[in-house]
Symmetry: C3
Subunit: 330 residues, 3 copies
């Protein structure tokens, strides 16, 4: 784990700030104002400092988190479970794909009923589902806080929070940076959630994608209305020359009408040593993972290749969310 | 969680009563005498009081429960796991349907061998299986207490215990009540286990079901021999006029010879606002869940609709069973 | 749990010995020298004594173990999880067969990437995989200790450690014993790992198998070079007359060219009452389990039938490995 200045200097937030999110659900990135975002970041940094210093935390001892993963997502599930254990809490888990579904939902039970029951067992619920709107249904059914761990093609706010946290840790600030989003900007829920945070900081944005997968117009319009400077291109090599943070996502074959169309574009969006060499000094490379071939393995040794450090940041961010929403603060 | 008088006034049972079930297995409802039943109820109420008051319990710290679910049952598994965590204990879990079986049983190992091994790892075993008699095989193999979490078409004693607990909490007593069992009375293991407890209290019973799914004769005979007043009918609307507690179960299409036969009866056994309006003042509605369509969602807002509160009662009941059978008492 | 002299007399190893394995991976049996082997055995005995005396251990409180089982192995997984819980630690788990794979590896992620991420969440990783060399890839990717819980047709060092521990507990020594390995000696990874330990003690060995499944020549050559006395035979009845420890493994139908060939040999390698009656006084019978039919159930009552006690020994051995490699010692 990298021990950045931000973590080294982390202070315990004030009582008042620590209770700002108590009782709230975490359903989307756009629900956050800058004050809430900053208390999550500051609390996460404070927790990471404790982890680095191997201090044991116990503020969720005796509490239980339900990890309800109706869609596979090993990394996200394990990092939430780790976060809860690092706070001293316990975990109960459903981890099954709908395809091999064995839960009571396979007997025809509604998500609302399932959540209503589990809500009475635990203190906080983490819900992942392939269906849009599931997190909202869950939040409606539950009295305890619900955290959206990814729902369909919609939001994935905890990923976006750890993305922002990573940039702040690695770059020290977001002000004045140029952030380039690369890959599938049309369907990628992580980039959509991330954009909601970036506009709070007023970064300049570059969108690099094949024309089939450009950022949806409602999002570019929203950004323009907020006065964000946007550039759209399909030329990665040009873009990296001005990029401070390159956020890479996977381009899936299935998104194209024909295999031929996919084959014709795929190599233009792979980050390899050539791209890195042409990039702006100190460019940070992020990726929500899993990575297939969109970043060459040889890039891993580059100091700016931060995607594995980024994954590790999921733990302190989720520790912050679990404890802030339930009011089990440090 | 509802805070009833029973919970509010809960007292710690005497030492002597707390050790009444030490070292015993929980395999069926009919194994219980009234003294054992009452110590489970009283201990559960005492634990629920602790949960409501957010007092941490630690009497099973350092102990391990094995949740061996060879058949899917998310609700039952999660409530047992929650119960163990709320007592400070740890959990190891097998959760796989035989269909997607990946355990050593798929290699041809007998249940007896599997249980003999896991028994040596843990302090208490919870076993769920699609096969009748599995709980008895497990109890035979294990030196530690075995709790039957549902075995085939047979018993489901912990469900029946939480059903009784719910009636006592909500109604204050079982004496003199008329309990109506509705739905699939032929194959429903929960109603068979429940009846074993109700006859200890001498309630009046009404059985409402299509003629294809009436209560088996050996059970009605047993009840008659114990002097229990029984009425059998297929008319739900008539029955609810005299009902204090309505216990609803699902009627499965597969139980009928033809889809036509199923279609012809299914609507007669749905609990909806009309049924509720015609029912006796204060009628309690229970259901072991998952509910599909046998209770209309509009009924959920009715104060007597207790099925979600009933599900929550699984936690204190299972806390009581885990600690009483292992002798790790409060 | 049997309380042998070895366990009764167990002493806490010296500080120096306790840190001998700190930071090391456990990938194979052949990596161990006799000094390391003895510290694992002594630490396991010390832990078993604590378990028997019901003393709570807390030396891994606040620590997390990742159980990454990319191949089903219920017994091994549950005993590692039990070991971690008995030390006060927490567990995060992936348990899925590649066949019903739902993890990010199914999206095409490399094992190296998966391990790199999870390594940052936890303090120690336990990896099981159907693919040879997986444990080495994992150890390469992780900074924390990696323990091989079985990889392909290769090594299974923790099984071999608990095998040796069982013989020492039951027989008091390994010096001067004749150990007979029975069954599939060609493909059985447990016997291959076990042989690596036995040669450290200089036992005499008898190999009993059908000719199709004899011990590979590179292993017999290695043993001869070390001066180990070996006898190879297909006659079980003869072998048991001189055997102190009989290690039974399963002969799988799939290993034979035709079903007929399998049928012609299978009954010659079943351990039943006749075999036991002809065996050397006090012969110990071991089996890595699961047992299908290669040991008759009637043999279970024989005092030398130690295979269930052997399985229980997995817990203290794995407790020793988890704490010694991470330096979280008693």
């Amino acid at each position: 784990m990298m021990y950045s200045k931000m973590v080294e200097n982390a202070q315990k937030p004030s009582e008042q700030r620590l209770f700002l999110m108590k009782g709230k659900d975490v359903l989307s990135a756009y629900q956050f104002n800058k004050e809430e975002l900053s208390v999550v970041i500051d609390t996460a940094a404070y927790y990471e400092k404790a982890l680095v210093e191997k201090r044991r935390l116990r503020n969720m001892e005796g509490k239980i988190m339900a990890a309800l993963f109706y869609e596979p997502s090993t990394r996200t599930r394990l990092s939430f479970e780790t976060a809860m254990h690092r706070l001293g809490g316990s975990v109960i888990t459903i981890a099954e794909s709908l395809k091999y579904q064995t839960s009571s939902m396979s007997k025809g039970e509604s998500l609302h009923d399932s959540i209503t029951v589990v809500d009475q067992y635990v203190d906080v619920l983490v819900v992942r589902s392939p269906i849009n709107g599931s997190a909202e249904i869950a939040a409606n059914a539950a009295e305890n806080p619900v955290i959206n761990a990814g729902a369909g093609a919609g939001q994935h706010p905890t990923q976006a929070l750890l993305d922002v946290y990573t940039i702040l840790k690695e770059k020290g600030t977001l002000e004045g940076l140029t952030v380039t989003l690369l890959g599938d900007l049309k369907y990628g829920r992580t980039v959509h959630s991330l954009v909601d945070f970036l506009l709070l900081y007023g970064c300049d944005l570059i969108f690099v994608s094949p024309k089939e997968l450009v950022m949806p117009e409602d999002i570019t319009n929203k950004l323009c209305n907020k006065g964000i400077k946007i550039k759209e291109t399909d030329n990665l090599l040009e873009a990296v020359k001005d990029t401070d943070v390159l956020y890479v996502t996977r381009i899936q074959k299935e998104r194209f009408a024909t295999v031929k169309e996919y084959e014709s574009v795929k190599n233009s969006y792979i980050v390899d040593d050539t791209i890195v060499k042409k990039s702006k000094e100190g460019m940070l490379i992020l990726h929500p993972l899993p990575r297939v071939n969109e970043i060459a393995v040889s890039v891993d040794k580059y100091p700016g290749a931060a995607y594995f450090r980024q994954a590790a940041n999921g733990v302190p961010i989720r520790m912050a969310l679990l404890s802030l929403t339930t009011g089990n603060v440090l």
